[in-house]
Symmetry: C2
Subunit: 273 residues, 2 copies
C-alpha cells in the first residue's frame, strides 16, 4: 500500500532472453538492471519522480540467477530513488522480466508528453549517443573490447533527475532514446503532428563512437530528447547538459540533414516523408 | 497520467503458455481474460477498487492472437470497472502475458492484508469452490465435457465488489483462492501467526463438483477467503454471500478437520503442523 501523491504515471516494460539481452553477454544482475532502467527511463521522459517498481520474473527451470537478477535491480533502484515494492515469480520456458514502475508528480503541469512539440521549438538531447549500440558491437566481438562502452550497454542510467528538471523548465515534448534518436524523434513528430529537423553533424557522440549513423539510430542510450520553446531555452540549458540539434517545423516525420541542410537518407530507422 | 486517490495498491502477475494455460484449450481471448482476472483478484483480496491495468505482451513470432487476447482483457476490464491504461509488446520465444494493476482506496483502514487474523475470528469463503479445477479436468478430457465448469476455468470473475464490501465490513484478513483453499488458508495462517481450522464438510462445492478434495485444493477459483471478528459476522454476511468454514485458533498452519473434529491428512496442498 502506497500513500499517493496527486498524479500517478505507470509504465510497464519487458525484456526477454535472446531478444533484448543474451545471458552469454549479460550477467543476471545486468538483466535486472536493464529491465528496471528501461522502465524508469519512461518515467524520466515524463518528468515524473520515480516511485515503486513491481517486478514479474518468468524463469526457466534450472535458472539459478534470480537473486543476482534482483540484486542488480536493487542496485539501480537505490541509485535512482525507486523502491521495489512487489513482485511475482513464475516458471516459463524462457527468461522474461517485466517491470511496472509508478512515478509521481504533485502538479499535472509538471508532466510532459510526446504530443506538445510546436513549430519554432528547438530540439535538444541530453548526454551522448551511440554508446550503448557501440558497446553491443564490442560485446559481440565486432569491434575491439571497450569496458566503458559495454558498461553503457549493460548498465544504462535513466535520466530521472534531468527529466524532472527539463519538465520543470518547460520543455514541450520529451522522449527517452530507446529505439534510436531518429526513430524516437519520429514518435514525437507523429504524436505532435510536426516535423523534427535534426542536423546530423550536431549529434553528440559518446566517447569511442565515431560513426554518426550509430548515434542517429543506435538504441538503448536512454538519453532524453526534448523539444524546447525558444523562450525556455536558457532554463532548459540550466536544467540539464544539452546539445542543440535542430528545430521543429510544420510538416511531418523527421528530417535528418547535413550541415548544409541537405537531407540524409538511407539510415536505419530513418523516417522522412 | 492518472489523478490519484489517497492510497494505491499495485499487483503484478504473469501467465505463460504451457504453464498457466495452453493455447490448445484456451483461446487468446481466454488468456487475456485470465491474466487480467488473476491480477484484479489480488486487488479484490485487498478490498481496493480496481483502477488501471498495464499490460506487457511477450509474443512468439507468428502468434496472430494478440488482438483477440487484448479483446478478452478489454471484455473483463469493462465488466470489472478497470481501465487498460498502457502496455508494451515484445517478441519472445514463448507467449507470456504480464499484467500490473493499480487499485485505489480513500482510506487506509479500508484495505485488508493477510496478517490480521486473530484467534476467535471466524473463517468464511465467498461463492463455491473446485469449479475451476473441475473445469480443467473436463478440458483435458479426464472428466465429461461441462460447459459451465470449463467457463469457470477459462473466464474466472474476480470478486471486486465482494472484496470491497467485506473490507468495509471489517474482515481481519483476506486472500483470493488462487493456489487452492488449503494453501491460501496457509498463507493467512503464516502471515497472521495463527492456525486456521477449516471443517471440510462445510466447503461449498461448485455445481458439478462432488470431490471435497478438489474444493479444498483446486486453484484458480478466485473466490475470497476471509477471517471475520465475531462482532463483524452479521455485517460480513450482508456484504457478500458467505459460507462459514471454521475458526481461527492459536497455533500455526491449517487444520482441515472432519465434522467430528478429526484431522484430515493427505490432501494435496494440505498444510498442517
Amino acid at each position: 500500500m502506497v500513500r499517493s501523491r496527486p498524479f500517478a504515471v505507470t509504465s510497464i516494460d519487458s525484456v526477454a532472453d535472446g531478444v533484448h539481452f543474451e545471458l552469454s553477454t549479460h550477467s543476471p544482475a545486468d538483466v535486472g538492471w536493464k529491465a528496471l532502467a528501461q522502465a524508469l527511463s519512461d518515467l524520466a521522459a515524463m518528468g515524473a519522480d520515480a516511485g515503486e517498481a513491481y517486478v514479474s520474473l518468468a524463469l526457466p527451470e534450472g535458472f539459478d540467477g534470480a537473486l543476482d537478477l534482483v540484486g542488480g535491480m536493487e542496485e539501480l533502484a537505490s541509485t535512482a530513488g525507486a523502491t521495489i515494492a512487489g513482485g511475482d515469480v513464475i516458471t516459463a520456458p524462457t527468461l522474461v522480466v517485466s517491470v511496472a514502475v509508478t512515478g509521481w508528480a504533485d502538479d499535472e503541469s509538471k508532466l510532459v508528453g510526446r504530443d506538445g512539440a510546436k513549430p519554432g521549438d528547438l530540439i535538444a538531447v541530453t548526454g551522448a549517443l551511440g554508446g550503448s549500440a557501440a558497446g553491443l558491437l564490442a560485446l559481440h566481438g565486432e569491434t575491439p573490447a571497450d569496458d566503458e562502452l559495454t558498461r553503457r550497454h549493460r548498465r544504462p542510467l535513466p535520466r530521472l533527475r534531468e527529466g524532472a528538471a527539463l519538465a520543470a523548465a518547460g520543455v514541450s515534448a520529451m522522449i527517452d532514446v530507446s529505439d534510436g534518436l531518429a526513430a524516437d524523434a519520429g514518435h514525437i513528430a507523429r504524436r505532435s503532428r510536426v516535423q523534427l529537423r535534426v542536423e546530423l553533424a550536431r549529434l553528440p557522440l559518446a566517447p569511442g563512437v565515431e560513426d554518426v549513423e550509430l548515434a542517429a539510430t543506435g538504441g538503448d542510450d536512454y538519453e532524453l530528447l526534448v523539444t524546447v520553446p525558444p523562450e525556455c531555452r536558457d532554463e532548459a540549458a540550466e536544467a540539464a547538459e544539452l546539445t542543440w540539434l535542430g528545430d521543429v517545423r510544420a510538416g511531418s516525420g523527421v528530417a535528418l540533414v547535413g550541415a548544409d541542410g541537405s537531407p540524409r537518407t538511407g539510415l536505419r530507422g530513418f523516417e522522412h516523408r
